[in-house]
Symmetry: C2
Subunit: 226 residues, 2 copies
């Protein structure tokens, strides 16, 4: 393993540990020493990658979008649906994603820039909607950047409601419902008829990615920060 590969791996280990601690205790209560003992790395290694707790939180916030790429679909609306449902599935199963969303929704740290995940997701959705528009999938009145913000904002709240009511148990159902309420306002009816957006879609896409495990394209918007 090259020195660079090792550095990347150590950085990942630290971020996973930070995510776990942030998710369990919240940003305010989390301590660097707890993250150190969770990661099993030296203080020097941690501070080489992250100067402070704030930098660790920022790292978790940026990281959540970088690991999974939804396979390309002929319908860009299907790709948007898949991205959304996969994110719901990962929220149910991946502490890093939960920690990041928790940080983004948490108003208790005014020093933390919480806009990053909203803007990153919005850019991803905007990109897919632009593409969908070019392909004629959208109704004529749709303004992609407005619709992108509605998708991202609405998802953020639906996940918060599911978390508050039952710790994400019903999240896939709620997100499927959300999509069934949003798509009719933007998609051409023949396209809607082709879309898969049942509650199991996120799990299916996840399985598909695990099975094929294709190397992600670096230019894909979801991997922009990698």
């Amino acid at each position: 393993m090259s020195k660079q590969d090792r550095a990347i791996r150590t950085r990942q280990t630290i971020l996973r540990a930070a995510a776990k601690v942030f998710e369990e205790h919240g940003y305010q209560a989390a301590t660097i020493s707890e993250i150190l003992s969770e990661a099993g790395v030296t203080k020097g290694a941690l501070y080489f990658h992250f100067q402070s707790k704030e930098h660790l939180a920022q790292g978790v916030l940026t990281e959540q979008n970088n690991e999974f790429t939804v396979p390309e679909r002929p319908s860009k609306l299907q790709e948007l649906v898949d991205t959304t449902m996969l994110h719901a599935h990962r929220l149910q199963t991946d502490p890093m994603v939960r920690a990041s969303v928790r940080l983004a929704m948490d108003q208790n740290q005014p020093t933390l820039d919480r806009s990053t995940p909203f803007l990153t997701w919005s850019k991803t959705a905007h990109h897919l909607l632009d593409h969908a528009q070019t392909q004629g999938e959208l109704l004529p009145h749709v303004i992609p950047h407005q619709t992108a913000d509605v998708f991202v904002g609405a998802f953020g709240g639906v996940q918060a409601m599911s978390q508050a009511l039952n710790e994400y148990t019903d999240l896939h159902h709620r997100v499927s419902n959300l999509l069934r309420h949003l798509l009719p306002a933007i998609a051409q009816p023949p396209i809607i008829a082709t879309l898969h957006m049942t509650p199991t879609r996120g799990h299916d896409v996840y399985q598909e990615i695990q099975t094929h495990h294709t190397t992600p394209t670096p230019t894909h918007p979801l991997r922009r920060h990698f």
Copy 2:
């Protein structure tokens, strides 16, 4: 002023003070002594109404829905739109509403029951959607309780995104956009054509309530806990 009126007024003063402190510092950092000095009441008066910081937070969470009643409309979808847009307007202008929403969205206190505001709002929306269905305003496939949860969840996230990006400055635009994306999936087209849901709607409804200042009907779902 009767003894009972005075007690109600003191309770309100304490809740307003608690809301202000919770909004400024978050639940964890807020202290009873800060709330006491903000409210200007005695320790005895505070503990008569609220046994603990947790009870104060629960009071704020329950209180947000109790003060404003949207005027009845012939279209119950318009009433749902008005309720949503008025809430957005009050988030922009009322610290009590901001504090309550902040508490509901804050995952940092596992001891606090954060489901109350979600469930209360969902019940209100469900009630209006049931009524709208009876009047033939909804498309045939709509399941009111599912749509109610989508509205409430989506609103929660859109407000969080607006707060994170620009401290609620553009909230009325974002909520108007959200409604334009949700209504086509549930409303009969001739009804949509009659709905007022431009960004200024919340402000207009607020002015209407201030001008007429009708005594609220106690049976209205928004006043259930009063």
